[in-house]
């Protein structure tokens, strides 16, 4: 079944302490070539019928993201078509 995915990320100017914490931990894993890590939310919405993009946009705008600090983007994904998945 197709689903709508809403990605919510902190606006670039808002500090992301979680992402920073991950970035700071990387050298300990031997990873030194990462310049930035940002952590946001991925929200997968399944509709009973046809996925409704306008509806999803409305939900995202009113509830899923706080426009004061966050941006969001919306995509429709075919569930069968999910990328390389681990494990």
């Amino acid at each position: 079944m197709p689903r709508v995915v809403v990605d919510v990320m902190l606006k670039p100017e808002i500090l992301d302490p979680q992402g920073q914490a991950v970035a700071n931990a990387l050298p300990r894993l031997g990873v030194t070539d990462v310049s930035s890590v940002r952590i946001g939310r991925r929200i997968e919405i399944e509709f009973a019928g046809q996925p409704d993009l306008d509806r999803a946009r409305e939900i995202a705008d009113k509830l899923l993201a706080n426009p004061v600090i966050e941006d969001f983007s919306i995509t429709v994904v075919d569930a069968a078509d999910v990328q390389e998945s681990h494990p």
Partner: protein
């Protein structure tokens, strides 16, 4: 007549009985309000208590904002109804756009509970008129998402118009911009506070009695307000 102060319970509210206790100790009647009931039952002011409304899932306060009681409170607040949001209540007020800015994850990523010194910056609000501007008070903080953020323009405006109500002293517990612990709206009737004054109202259980001032303030305010 004793003032009637409503204390709202959302599913997941935790400090609601504490807020009610503080209201009573201050000498008012605490009136329980329920998230699903849009009727404010004639209260003179409202406290949105701390806790994890709706689990604080998604974002703190994001879901509570849509509770029926919030619609009435928002409308009332715009007409001057005094509203105090404590911790989760502050988060709800920001989510409902009754106060500017937002509360985000503590910079150190931990929940933090400690006794915190504050400076009351503005004694001109409905909830702080019992203090002197500049007065230092000791009140517990306890939150995981108490880091106040807003854009520079908003922050400047809050400062310029005396709407920063309280600031953290001797160490900022969560990374709030400009050490902001509480703010108010333009009219001074809506106040959001990250620290918990309701936990500083009894010598036996709190670090001080300083929190009581927020609750006596509202009585003073109501006594002075035209009926």
């Amino acid at each position: 007549m004793t003032a009637r102060i409503g204390v709202v319970t959302f599913p997941g509210s935790l400090d609601d009985r504490d807020a009610a206790r503080a209201v009573r100790i201050a000498g008012a009647e605490a009136v329980p309000l329920w998230h699903d009931d849009a009727d404010l039952h004639g209260v003179d002011a409202v406290v949105l208590p701390g806790g994890f409304s709706y689990g604080d899932y998604l974002r703190c306060g994001a879901i509570a904002r849509f509770a029926p009681v919030m619609e009435t409170i928002a409308a009332g607040a715009r007409d001057g109804l005094p509203v105090l949001g404590i911790c989760n209540g502050f988060q709800i007020l920001c989510e409902a756009h009754l106060l500017p800015g937002a509360l985000t994850r503590n910079q150190h990523l931990h929940f933090r509970n400690r006794d915190q010194w504050l400076r009351v910056e503005s004694a001109g609000t409905a909830w702080t008129n019992a203090f002197q501007a500049g007065q230092e008070v000791l009140v517990p903080v306890k939150n995981g998402e108490g880091c106040y953020v807003a854009d520079e323009r908003t922050l400047d405006e809050l400062e310029a118009t005396g709407r920063v109500v309280a600031r953290y002293l001797h160490g900022n517990p969560n990374g709030s911009l400009r050490d902001i612990a509480g703010i108010t709206n333009e009219a001074g009737n809506v106040v959001g506070l990250m620290p918990h004054p309701e936990h500083a109202v009894e010598a036996l259980t709190g670090p001080s009695l300083d929190g009581l001032g927020f609750f006596t303030s509202i009585l003073k305010h109501l006594a002075g307000a035209p009926a």
